[in-house]
């Protein structure tokens, strides 16, 4: 988003008062190897999933804190979005999924030798959550373990 001072008052107040899981300190894992040898996975909070997957669903308690697997070899045409939020213009993702899930760009970086490899699986969560407790304590650590099991070194995170 542009700096808050140039937004409308409604937008500015909405963002200023949005609940965040504030923290002190910061966990820190420095890169263990050069980028050209690094295995990368994308994790997005764009609410994406494969067509065959269940859309994100608020009917179930905790349903918005679940995640979906996006295999790196999935066809972009097989990925859709069921994000709850209405606060964004979807024409961009209608045109180009890379606007929020830069999978083609990562493939290109691997081809160019900039990045070592792409992990077999990427992950998608729901964004704009007002309560991240389940993600922080349960589904997030679960995906972290999956990423580590796939030999991932670097996670590239994108919002929508």
């Amino acid at each position: 988003m542009p700096r808050l001072e140039i937004l409308s008052e409604v937008q500015r107040r909405m963002l200023e008062f949005f609940p965040c899981m504030e923290a002190d300190g910061v966990p820190w894992t420095p890169p263990a190897k050069p980028l050209s040898e690094t295995r990368v996975a994308i994790v997005t909070t764009a609410g994406l999933h494969l067509r065959e997957d269940k859309p994100f669903n608020r009917d179930h308690p905790g349903g918005e804190s679940t995640y979906r697997i996006l295999p790196s070899d999935a066809d972009n045409a097989d990925i859709v979005q069921s994000h709850f939020s209405i606060g964004f213009d979807r024409t961009a993702i209608y045109r180009d999924i890379n606007i929020t899930y830069p999978i083609d760009r990562m493939r290109e970086l691997v081809q160019r030798g900039v990045v070592g490899s792409l992990a077999p699986n990427n992950y998608s969560f729901m964004g704009a959550l007002r309560d991240c407790t389940v993600v922080a304590e349960q589904t997030g650590p679960e995906v972290a373990q999956r990423l580590k099991d796939d030999g991932v070194d670097l996670v590239f995170l994108t919002p929508t």
Partner: protein, 233 residues
């Protein structure tokens, strides 16, 4: 997203994150975040512009050189803003203007050729949340027309674990994607604002969705009001 970055980094993974709201990243403190001056929906800046997207990614990966964190780097302000402040602002300005006597089902049929052209040109579509093929969207329209009149309406394709209001939202999202993609194929020169104005101000499908919103907003049920909020945007 910033919360996930912290979780992953604590688990021994290195992370870089794109952050759209600088103030939120400053509060949550992900290890490495690149703030970008683009509106929601435009995290990598420009759709269909691989070179621009690579520049954003390169800036994000550049944070890996930092010896300690948290790192909250700024992408140049001059690159933005890109996108729309909020699509809903267009919707709010045009809701209610449409001619409600228009035939939404007929409109879907009329747009089908453009929609299929879009699919052919782009090789993908955002339609598909309901799992109902677009060739049967006239049935979706009939369901929504009934739901605009009564809570009793239902559709056989609704999965048992999805409530009717949630399924209505999925239907609305699919119809919007169908119409927007058709319009982008029909008028490739239109910008985002043009497309939103057309959908909410001129189409029967937009008017139908808006009529559901108005009915749900008139109820006393907070969950239905919340669903209504998500429909007409």
């Amino acid at each position: 997203m910033s919360v996930l970055a912290r979780v992953f980094e604590a688990a021994g993974l290195t992370t870089v994150a794109i952050a759209l709201v600088r103030e939120h990243a400053a509060r949550v403190r992900p290890p490495r975040a690149l703030w970008v001056p683009f509106y929601f929906g435009y995290a990598l800046g420009k759709p269909d512009d691989p070179e621009f997207q690579h520049q954003v990614i390169a800036a994000a990966l550049g944070m890996l050189d930092a010896p300690q964190g948290p790192v909250l780097a700024d992408y140049p302000d001059a690159a933005g803003p890109i996108g729309m402040p909020q699509a809903s602002e267009v919707a709010a300005s045009t809701n209610g203007d449409a001619d409600r006597t228009l035939d939404a089902a007929g409109e879907i049929t009329a747009l089908r050729g453009y929609y299929e052209r879009w699919q052919e040109q782009r090789g993908h579509t955002a339609v598909g949340i309901t799992g109902i093929p677009q060739r049967r969207f006239r049935g979706v329209i009939r369901f929504l027309e009934a739901y605009a009149e009564s809570d009793d309406a239902d559709m056989g394709e609704r999965p048992a674990d999805v409530s009717v209001p949630q399924f209505v939202r999925y239907c609305a999202d699919d119809l919007k994607a169908f119409c927007y993609e058709a319009r982008m194929a029909q008028r490739p020169g239109d910008n985002e604002t043009d497309i939103h104005r057309w959908f909410w101000g001129e189409t029967a499908v937009g008017a139908l969705i808006d009529s559901i919103t108005q009915r749900l907003n008139a109820t006393d049920d907070p969950s239905l009001k919340a669903m209504a909020y998500g429909l007409s945007r």
